[in-house]
Symmetry: C2
Subunit: 241 residues, 2 copies
């Protein structure tokens, strides 16, 4: 089978069988979480010690990250963490709406009983995490991340288009980076659970118009949060400065 985006696939707990992939995953995580802030120069000589691999191996991992547009390679001047900007995030968000609503449309048209069951299950898991979060248990933030992503993935899981899902994965990854970088300023806020609940019910009812409408606004709402980001973050400074 033509397994597009095996590199960015996250649904299956894929076990990295090579050092390149292992380094790739660790690097990707560190970039998304802001350990390597936007614009930072990624020197191979320094990073190969930190990630405990050879120089050539790390280079390949960096090339893979260019795929996800998390790293940019400049001619003969090495690698750099992809810069960020409000315009870019706006682009990401609007394109995400375009793709994700189409995916949802197709998913609602094709989803069978098994899909419905999976949706109920993942919504339940997400609800539990959101409940704990609202009770002040901040340790579950990490877990909520995963369940949130899982819920959104399940929503469009019945979409038969591998390409749409592939592109959607890349964009989700990108927006996640922006969201992480803006988190410390805009903690959780919003009644996200209510939005998820409405989305879930509309999906189960196969109300395409309503579901896509809710999903659009759900995604677009994150735009405001990021637009209020402090400027120094956009310039690639570390979040703590």
């Amino acid at each position: 089978m033509n397994d597009i985006a095996s590199a960015t696939e996250t649904s299956a707990p894929y076990e990295p069988k090579t050092l390149v992939e292992a380094a790739y995953k660790r690097l990707r995580r560190d970039i998304i979480e802001g350990v390597h802030p936007p614009g930072e120069k990624l020197r191979v000589e320094h990073l190969k010690d930190q990630y405990e691999v050879g120089a050539g191996t790390l280079r390949e991992a960096l090339q893979l990250l260019v795929t996800d547009a998390l790293v940019v390679a400049q001619g003969q001047r090495g690698f750099r963490v992809a810069p960020i900007s409000i315009a870019d995030f706006e682009d990401i968000t609007r394109t995400r709406v375009l793709l994700e609503t189409e995916a949802l449309r197709q998913s609602l048209a094709r989803g069978d009983d098994a899909w419905e069951a999976a949706l109920v299950a993942s919504f339940h898991r997400l609800s539990r995490a959101e409940q704990k979060l609202s009770e002040g248990d901040l340790d579950t933030t990490e877990e909520w991340e995963r369940r949130n992503r899982a819920f959104h993935e399940t929503l469009i899981a019945a979409c038969p288009s591998r390409w749409i899902r592939h592109f959607q994965n890349i964009l989700y990854q990108q927006s996640e980076r922006y969201r992480r970088l803006s988190l410390f300023r805009q903690p959780v806020a919003r009644d996200v659970h209510a939005e998820h609940q409405a989305l879930f019910e509309a999906a189960l009812a196969r109300d395409v118009t309503r579901a896509t409408s809710i999903l659009s606004e759900h995604i677009l709402r994150t735009l405001d949060a990021v637009k209020r980001m402090p400027i120094d973050v956009l310039n690639g400074k570390p979040a703590t400065h």
Copy 2:
């Protein structure tokens, strides 16, 4: 600036400054043109001689091709030319319609005088090539390829979304591979020029509905051609067998 897709950008005559990029470009071309048929195993040891680079260098070039989904990397079992299938091409085509019509919509809404001028120019160049082609001059096929792509790129050039254009580039590349592989059976056919003419006029008139409609059908029509491909091509055999 966040230069997404520097690897797949083709509009600017980007000069490869590193051996990796040079090998990447040559390999990509050979894969699209069918020199390396779908499913073929890409052995580093053999290819490094053919492309006159080191083993590590070629590995990096192959990793870059994974980005474009022209090559798939399997765990510890090396690289392979991405397989093809009718289902995959159908997916590619429909997703292309989704993205390219949206891009055209935005482009028509934003295109200024300079864009109009560029569109007139590229359409003129394309028309000339199509005229020569209809006169039986088969040497211009290569040139027609470029001008056809240029025309379609100019159409959506005023679309401000880098991400949509990025994804569109990838999909265009993919569909080009399918088209090349099916060429020997379905040479040129269709009155492509008439379609281009109608598309051009609708775009100049800023008739969004008409333009997107024509573009959709224009893209979808290639589906039929590929669906009539001989089966052995789909199985990854060389086109000459």
